[in-house]
């Protein structure tokens, strides 16, 4: 392993590049590239990378960035791209298309606030806007988790039991532009970890199929059911991918959901991305004082790990969900998932906290206040707007 001080963006660029390289003895790799703050360094890195068998195509929009990935993937290559905020919004049509075509394209989302008004700081409303696409979604809590998860995303998305695109999200600036020490996986190990990308329905002269033409309602329903079944196979495929990761690289990335100290906890807090790390410090400090408190790193949003969540909170009385996103007219998007999952547990208070929107700094003090509010509750209420200092 090469240990290096890297920004999140360069670490992500490196992971994409070595994953692309690992397909050089098969049909190669391709990327459609278009810049946006805070993602730009990723595509700059990729444009500068010397691929053995790969192309990074500079396009005129995110819509075309994903379209290039679709074309490359339909031609059998490993394909990837990256974007943020309005770039992801602009890409939406083709992200849905990629899922419907069953193409395992990896999409990096450097989370940023949607605008206008323009705000470049972190907010997960951009990637969560994609919740209804046929798209796996992972949220990385650190630079290391990011690199590892990107490799895992290729392996799971390309698995023949899944064949779906996968999004890996990191926090804009907090992760993308800060440096941390990372183990950058060596190419030989990545070659070992990632099998050649196989798109069984790729365009072939000898098998003239039409991909993406017209369908009637019945075929459409079958198509959607197949996508749902593929999603349901993800937990098993992910477990195998993590085992293999540990075997090849000697460390194990987080799974879909990691529960910390939840066995004896009355109060459980849930978050993702870098908020997890602040939350961990707060929870540790409170446990040191004897509180029965635990936490959940909800790393995977799609498929949503309902069973793992139910198991993790089997002893909980209260759950507080930290949502760095907002669905107008409803509330936090993670909270909606948690509340739906916990319908079978009416005894549990599930409270939503909208926090750190538009990049507000979610400090330990803010999280302490949230925990105090949660602990004082007799029942759940409407989502709480938890303002933070600018």
């Amino acid at each position: 392993m090469a240990r290096a001080m890297e920004t999140g963006n360069h670490a992500a660029g490196y992971a994409l590049a070595v994953a692309g390289e690992a397909n050089r003895d098969a049909r190669g790799c391709a990327c459609g590239a278009y810049p946006i703050t805070p993602q730009s360094e990723i595509i700059e890195f990729l444009r500068g990378f010397d691929f053995t068998k790969g192309r990074v195509i500079p396009v005129e929009s995110e819509h075309s960035a994903m379209a290039v990935c679709i074309g490359a993937s339909l031609a059998g290559a490993r394909a990837f791209t990256a974007s943020s905020a309005n770039g992801l919004a602009y890409m939406v049509e083709n992200i849905f298309a990629a899922g419907f075509y069953r193409l395992p394209i990896v999409l990096i989302a450097v989370n940023r606030t949607l605008g206008p008004p323009w705000n470049i700081w972190v907010d997960q409303g951009d990637s969560l806007m994609l919740r209804d696409a046929a798209l796996l979604q992972f949220y990385a809590e650190s630079h290391q988790d990011l690199v590892d998860t990107i490799l895992v995303a290729f392996r799971v998305g390309e698995d023949q039991r899944v064949l779906l695109p996968a999004l890996v999200a990191l926090d804009g600036f907090v992760t993308s532009h800060t440096q941390m020490v990372v183990d950058l996986p060596e190419r030989e190990l990545v070659d070992r970890y990632l099998p050649h990308c196989n798109i069984p329905h790729r365009l072939r002269g000898e098998h003239p199929a039409t991909i993406g033409g017209l369908t009637w309602p019945r075929e459409t329903e079958h198509h959607r059911v197949e996508i749902q079944e593929a999603m349901e196979r993800v937990p098993q495929v992910l477990a195998e991918a993590l085992d293999e990761f540990e075997h090849v690289f000697g460390r194990r990335p987080h799974g879909a959901l990691s529960a910390e100290h939840t066995d004896d906890a009355d109060t459980v807090l849930m978050a993702c991305n870098t908020m997890v790390r602040t939350l961990r410090n707060v929870v540790t400090a409170r446990r040191d004082k004897g509180e029965r408190i635990g936490m959940i790193n909800s790393k995977m949003f799609r498929p949503f790990p309902r069973q793992e969540l139910l198991a993790a909170v089997s002893n909980a009385k209260r759950i507080g969900v930290l949502d760095r996103n907002h669905s107008p007219g409803s509330g936090g998007i993670f909270w909606q998932e948690v509340a739906a999952t916990l319908q079978s547990r009416p005894d549990v208070i599930v409270q939503d906290y909208l926090v750190g929107l538009g990049g507000g700094d979610v400090t330990p003090e803010v999280i302490d206040e949230i925990i105090d509010d949660l602990n004082a509750r007799e029942k759940a209420g409407e989502p709480v707007w938890k303002e933070v200092a600018a």
């Binding site: 049909r27 190669g28 391709a30 459609g32 068998k53 790969g54 192309r55 195509i57 500079p58 396009v59 005129e60 929009s61 819509h63 075309s64 960035a65 379209a67 290039v68 990935c69 679709i70 074309g71 490359a72 993937s73 339909l74 031609a75 059998g76 290559a77 394909a79 049509e93 083709n94 298309a97 365009l203 072939r204 002269g205 098998h207 003239p208 199929a209 039409t210 991909i211 993406g212 033409g213 017209l214 369908t215 009637w216 075929e219």
Partner: protein, 299 residues
């Protein structure tokens, strides 16, 4: 030598096969067949955005396309083709990648994507079958709709002139651009072959008769295009490297009224067809000036 081929031999690997849903008299039926013929047995990979060109394939699991075909989102044909073409090149595969798109996917929603692929000079053979409307969605205007034509969204006749897509493509300095007529078979085949032999981005534009949208008699489709060419309304020409012009056929005095009066979309055109005549005049002044200033050697 046996001369009778089975339907399978005849059609199974054609670009467009029998059973497609093109309306009678649709220009695509001729265009796709001639594309096939000009490729001399080579099987293209097709990228087709939302338009009549993909509807004609029919519904899954059947398809009227006998070659590998990707149905892209409406605005994405050129970018999807760029991805396919790049990967074919990485793998040393010689297959030609053909975009087959309507005017909506070319002049309007797809124009940015098309422009970008052309600017990169990606190895794509891009063909626009221009029926001058959104046929698939019921015949609304596009920026390719000619002045005064009635569509479902220009019920009083369109007030703007048709966009000059060839000039826009020439501005990209692509190696080859040409206009093709389904009434001029040899010229059509020759241009496809020239485009096939050229590498980089190639843009072909064919005026595609659409009896459904033009409110014309299906059996007159080919005649209509012949009149469009002879009257000077649809000039046949080629542009090399975006700058050197070759004009293939001059107007022969055929009155544009011959074209206009046989389509009920032109009911708002005055009987003397003056606006169309001045359009033709301007267009030829421009083309003649370009061909004089920048002639293609050997023209």
């Amino acid at each position: 030598m046996s001369t009778v081929a089975s339907p399978e031999e005849l059609y199974c690997h054609n670009v467009l096969r029998p059973g497609n849903t093109n309306c009678a008299g649709c220009g695509m039926s001729i265009g796709l067949r001639w594309l096939d013929e000009a490729l001399d047995g080579e099987k293209p990979t097709m990228v087709i955005p939302a338009c009549c060109g993909i509807v004609t394939a029919g519904a899954f699991p059947t398809t009227a396309y006998g070659v590998p075909t990707a149905a892209s989102t409406f605005a994405s044909a050129a970018a999807v083709a760029s991805g396919v073409s790049a990967v074919y090149a990485l793998n040393g595969e010689p297959d030609v990648v053909v975009c087959w798109t309507g005017d909506g996917g070319t002049y309007d929603i797809g124009v940015a994507t098309l422009s970008a692929a052309a600017e990169r000079n990606d190895d794509i053979l891009y063909i626009c079958y221009d029926n001058e409307i959104y046929g698939n969605t019921g015949g609304q205007r596009s920026s390719a709709t000619p002045e005064l034509a009635v569509t479902s969204t220009t019920t009083k006749g369109k007030s703007e002139r048709k966009k000059d897509m060839m000039a826009i493509m020439a501005g990209h300095r692509i190696p080859y651009a040409a206009t093709l007529s389904v009434a001029h078979r040899e010229d059509f085949l020759r241009k496809i072959r020239t485009a096939r032999k050229t590498s980089g981005f190639r843009f072909l534009l064919t005026l595609s008769p659409c009896p459904t949208g033009w409110k014309s008699d299906p059996e007159e489709s080919v005649d209509l295009i012949r009149h469009a060419v002879r009257s000077g309304l649809f000039p046949l020409y080629e542009i090399f490297d975006g700058i050197r012009y070759r004009l293939n056929e001059r107007p022969d005095g055929t009155p544009v009224e011959e074209y206009v009066t046989r389509q009920r979309r032109y009911t708002k055109v005055p009987t003397d067809a003056a606006p169309l005549k001045s359009y033709i005049e301007d267009q030829w002044r421009y083309l003649d000036a370009m061909a004089k200033a920048f002639p293609m050697e050997g023209a």
